[in-house]
């Protein structure tokens, strides 16, 4: 199914969606928020923000006690990027957004210090923050990534090894800054990672936000972007590859809250193996002050085998009539046998032909990252996934 259409009554929540009868009539920005875990009811799995997730697998992260001590990180010194730890009462915390669900609130209530990554200077630069082997006990983390006005840079948050982690990542993009943030999940097979990213964009700033989820039993990265000031622009990209028994989820929210803001959301995923599961929810809210908004969101899923399930739910709410454009598209399809035939008819063996098609499908996202080094590494990681097929 692909659709590019003006919003209908359903999309405003006037009538229930086909995916369930109990959709509350509520604007996306009016959801309850709090930094305090006790302000949220215990999670039962029927809540709209949890209904696609295997909540029993990570009850410890939504309701248990979390270890809030410093997360071990590795990073190289990069000119123009400062990395430090700040206390939980620091004024630089809480500027980009606050939790809308219990796992994020639990992390916020539990973290001791926050990792602060500041980017300054107009030269292009790349900083990689690696988190490796966070253990099997439930933990909380908080990160603030801040791009100074008119600065440029790329920050990679990379996770490998074991993890049972609930975290919040705040991204503050100053006036005229251009920042790329890549959240790269290459965890071990039994890892659980729940993340909420909150971005706030200043005037005429640009954020490229990329979520790449390849490894982990349950990985849920929910980025929300507040286009808070005039002329701000977000490109939100995602790439995920779910194998047997993996649950990869992303709930993307873009709030157009100022004139002449722009957003492009493109998430692509592949699924293979029994029980491979992906969820993409894309909410776009165009507020009444956001005249001249230009918005488009899309999700594409490629189903490689039987026994998989991909949920794809685009939602668009528009509160002003004076916009440039707003559209959405969602498509989940099986492997195209005609593509396979074409490649095989040129002598390419079936396995290689399949890998070529899947790689081609996902590579659109990788090509947009803008860092040859990272692109190369992601291509290698993707190749490893494909070799496993």
């Amino acid at each position: 199914m692909t659709s590019t259409a003006m919003p209908t009554a359903e999309q405003h929540g006037f009538r229930p969606h086909s995916d369930g009868p109990f959709v509350p009539v509520q604007t996306r920005s009016e959801r309850f928020r709090s930094v305090n875990v006790d302000d949220f009811e215990p999670v039962n799995g029927r809540e709209h923000e949890w209904k696609y997730s295997p909540v029993a697998v990570f009850a410890d992260l939504t309701s248990g006690e979390l270890d809030g001590s410093r997360i071990e990180i590795e990073s190289a010194d990069v000119a123009g990027v400062d990395i430090s730890w700040i206390g939980r009462d620091d004024a630089r915390i809480g500027r980009a957004g606050i939790p809308e669900e219990r796992a994020a609130a639990n992390a916020w209530s539990s973290f001791g210090e926050a990792l602060l990554v500041t980017v300054s200077g107009e030269d292009e630069k790349t900083a990689v923050v690696s988190r490796h082997g966070l253990g099997r006990a439930p933990r909380a983390a908080h990160t603030v990534i801040e791009a100074a006005p008119n600065s440029r840079g790329l920050v990679v948050l990379r996770g490998t090894g074991d993890a049972r982690l609930s975290e919040n990542v705040e991204i503050v993009v100053g006036e005229g800054a251009s920042l790329t943030v890549v959240s790269l999940q290459e965890w071990n097979d039994d890892a659980v990672h729940l993340a909420s990213h909150f971005a706030r964009l200043g005037r005429d700033s640009f954020l490229k936000h990329i979520v790449v989820s390849l490894g982990g039993k349950v990985v849920r990265v929910n980025p929300s972007t507040h286009l808070a000031e005039q002329g701000s622009d977000v490109e939100a990209l995602g790439l995920y590859f779910a194998d047997a028994g993996q649950h990869l989820e992303q709930q993307v929210f873009v709030h157009h809250d100022a004139p002449h803001t722009r957003s492009r959301v493109t998430y692509k995923g592949a699924l293979q193996g029994e029980g491979a599961r992906t969820v993409w929810i894309g909410d776009v809210l165009i507020g009444n002050s956001a005249v001249g908004t230009d918005s488009y969101e899309q999700n594409r899923n490629l189903v490689l085998t039987d026994g998989t399930r991909a949920d794809s739910v685009p939602n668009l709410e528009i509160e002003t009539g004076d916009i440039e454009g707003a559209g959405h598209a969602s498509a989940t399809g099986r492997f195209d046998d005609e593509q396979l035939f074409y490649l095989m008819a040129r002598g390419i063996p079936e396995g290689e032909a399949r890998r070529l098609v899947v790689r081609g499908f996902l590579t659109e996202i990788i090509q947009k990252i803008g860092s040859p080094e990272l692109e190369e590494r992601l291509n290698a990681a993707l190749e490893a996934e494909l070799q496993g097929s």
Partner: protein, 253 residues
């Protein structure tokens, strides 16, 4: 000398309305260096013949055989057929998003030859063939067939024909939808491949137009899944004047 033999070929296709018999006993022998034109009205089974030779899974051979130098082609997978020297220039080439022409050509060439082509000569060969087909060099970096016009897609098929150097090529309505300039360019490409490698060609077409530029040694008229008549190039001239009407059974009133 290589030979492609098609013997008493019967082919069915599964449709929503059940099994349909499309080819009803086709016999055809193509020697290396020969050009055979297969002509016929829509629905006569021309494309089915092309796709069956290439091994498309939609078509089921219920009787007969296809032999390449005595080897049973029907026992081969699609990719094995290509590596054995068969090539199908498709009527509707599919788009392959995210796979560049360069990457695709090199992957195919490597698969066909069994070893990667030498970088220096390969790049030169690709550039030369593209230039011969009046393809802009930026084609190489575009994704396979993505956003290509009809004529560009056909040129891309002939580019592959020139570079992969098969022993036998089936051209499935390569002429359809081409304007006269593109038709000339594509025909020149086919003739060039013929001069360079002396391959055998099965040229499937609805119209006689392309036969002005590619001269067949034999012409076969296909009607209702069988060869209704065959002859030399003069048969094409006759079809040009008379059309296919005389082969079609009168509709019962």
């Amino acid at each position: 000398m290589s030979v492609l033999e098609i013997k008493n070929l019967h082919v069915n296709v599964e449709t929503d309305q059940g099994t349909r018999e499309i080819l009803r006993g086709v016999d055809l022998v193509i020697n290396e260096g020969e050009i055979h034109a297969v002509m016929g009205p829509n629905g006569s089974g021309k494309s089915t013949l092309a796709y069956t030779i290439a091994g498309h899974p939609k078509y089921t051979v219920v009787e007969g055989e296809i032999l390449l130098d005595g080897e049973n082609v029907l026992d081969m997978t699609v990719d094995e057929r290509a590596r054995a020297g068969l090539f199908l220039a498709m009527q509707y080439p599919v788009e392959i998003p995210g796979v560049t022409v360069t990457n695709f050509l090199r992957t195919a060439k490597t698969a066909i030859d069994g070893t990667a082509p030498s970088v220096r000569t390969w790049v030169k060969d690709v550039r030369q063939s593209m230039s011969n087909l009046r393809m802009d060099s930026n084609f190489a970096e575009r994704n396979v067939n993505e956003g290509f016009s009809g004529g560009e897609k056909k040129r891309n098929e002939i580019l592959q024909l020139e570079l992969l150097k098969p022993r036998f090529a089936v051209l499935d309505e390569t002429d359809s939808g081409l304007d006269v300039d593109a038709l000339k360019i594509v025909s020149e490409g086919v003739n060039r491949a013929m001069e360079n490698t002396g391959l055998g060609i099965l040229l499937i077409t609805h119209y006689t137009r392309i036969l002005r530029y590619i001269h067949p040694d034999f012409v076969h008229v296909f009607v209702a899944g069988r060869i209704a008549e065959q002859g030399g190039p003069e048969l094409a001239d006759r079809l040009e004047e008379e059309g296919y009407d005389r082969y079609l059974e009168p509709v019962a009133k």
